[in-house]
Assembly symmetry: C2
Homo-oligomer: 279 residues x 2
DNA sequence: CGCTGAATTCCATATTATGGACATGAGTAT
DNA sequence: ATACTCATGTCCATAATATGGAATTCAGCG
């Protein structure tokens, strides 16, 4: 190598650039960089080399290795593109991904940090289904149980699950939930609060579902950007003053996003905030 | 390196092994081997090293590079597993995959080889929708047009699309299609033929839809193993004697499978032949 | 409290990846 | 036709990079 080519020298040129890795795997890292680069759409060899800050020759060799493994495709006159292997791997991975298992460590961390009870749940039909629960370290017990179903519109978790839904569905569920007994609430006021929750990508439960229990919840999104689950931190109202709820928002959202990332979600993902308000 | 470690020496040990690639990217290839190995389920470092036929030290370094990039996950007491990056890439890739575009080169090759008209189609509601057509080199013209819809039960393409459906759906569609005019046919006979098509993963059209036009069709499966499209080779009956239809079966199925592979399908894929016979 | 079976770190070595230069090929303008 | 351009593909001497054996740490377990 005639020219000393240090990674840091060219860092300014490279876009995604290599976080140099555990050192001793430059070739692998560069190969993965190529996969990333190629995901932005068809690209020519020269552009690819420029984007990665490496020699065309090197880029060509690595790209061809990826082509042979079907991670990348090359079409003359078009350029390098993602390959079918990614479809196969993605599907395989999706099949073997279980929200509960993925979320566990994150929920435990959040519970340890807040000392309160943490829940994980999904939508099942018109109800929220609790999939997991890590009890808090406080004397007050939360009565929820894994496997239990709760109304969507009156629990923090449920409302987080509904954040992407159309207003029509909100109304429908709200009326259904109100019909079944619980203390009367005003739809207009509820709607206003929901709109605020949507903006904040986080919801509250202010003793609506259970007296003296308040909670902060946030939705979990998968690779498609869809809400596939939600998490919540619940505690007795005495530990959940308004300011604490505000303070918890950050932690809860961060945990929800961390779980999402483990499900393939990324901020720059498809349908990042495109609310799918149908019917 | 004290010990001469040539790729071919250890090829007997390695399972998936490296198809040595374009030489000059050993590290990348080994990294990709790790991804493959890890997709079979959680695995310890030692087992991983054994499976790939390389040193634990090397394996560890490469695996960690992949972990940093989120292609692989490590959980103590469990082992190395696929990582969330594969979910993200898979989803991204799926979003940008278009059957027509992917199928084109394969259809052209098949048309060139057979000299007959080749079609690509999908199910739309209760009909087969033609998405692409490569005209044959024979004097006889096939009247179909891209964008056109045809009955599912009387065309070769349509029957290929139905190969995984439940018998109940077959009957329902058959009766609906018969109602709308065409010459009467016997359901029992049709059913028997369909069962044969299912076994052969290929269907025929014996002048049912259009007089003097016969065709051979096969389904295209994506990464999930589901039938997402079908292709057919059509020609005038004079060029389509029974023996030629049998002979074409291989080519048509191979082309359909090649398209499927470009859509992420693999023979060892989930739901490979598990017929989803519901309702 | 010392095993056992794992992951992780270290470092001298030579194998592997590198990139400059050159070759080829397919459109396109002349 | 013929030269030009912009693209991908190939070669090979060089040195930087990846390698793996050995030593180390870590976490359960008996």
């Amino acid at each position: 190598m005639k020219q000393t080519r240090s990674n840091t020298d060219m860092a300014s040129v490279a876009e995604k650039a290599e976080a140099k890795g555990p050192a001793g795997s430059q070739t692998l890292m560069r190969g993965l960089d190529i996969i990333d680069a190629v995901m932005d759409g068809p690209i020519t060899l020269a552009d690819l080399a420029a984007k990665l800050g490496l020699n065309r020759s090197t880029t060509h060799r690595l790209a061809n290795a990826l082509i042979e493994r079907r991670y990348v495709t090359f079409m003359p006159r078009i350029g390098y593109q993602f390959g079918p292997k990614l479809l196969a791997l993605g599907f395989l991975a999706q099949q073997r991904t279980d929200v509960v298992q993925v979320a566990r460590p994150h929920l435990e961390a959040l519970a340890a940090q807040t000392e309160d009870t943490v829940h994980l749940g999904v939508i099942e039909g018109d109800l929220a289904l609790y999939l997991d629960k890590i009890p808090g370290r406080r004397r007050v017990e939360i009565s929820s149980r894994v496997g239990e179903r709760q109304p969507l519109t009156s629990t923090g978790l449920g409302k987080a699950l509904l954040l992407d839904e159309a207003e029509a569905r909100w109304r429908q569920l709200f009326e259904r939930d109100q019909a079944s007994g619980s203390p009367k609430a005003d739809y207009a006021a509820w709607l206003e609060r929901m709109k605020g929750y949507v903006e904040a990508e986080r919801s509250f439960d202010l003793e609506e579902n259970e007296d003296l229990i308040r909670c902060v919840a946030a939705p979990v999104r998968d690779a498609s950007g869809r809400i596939v689950a939600a998490i919540s931190v619940s505690s007795a109202a005495q530990y959940m003053a308004d300011d604490r709820m505000q303070a918890l928002t950050g932690d809860v959202r961060e945990t929800a996003e961390a779980i999402g990332r483990d499900l393939g979600w990324s901020e720059t993902a498809p349908t990042p905030r495109a609310r799918t308000r149908r019917s």
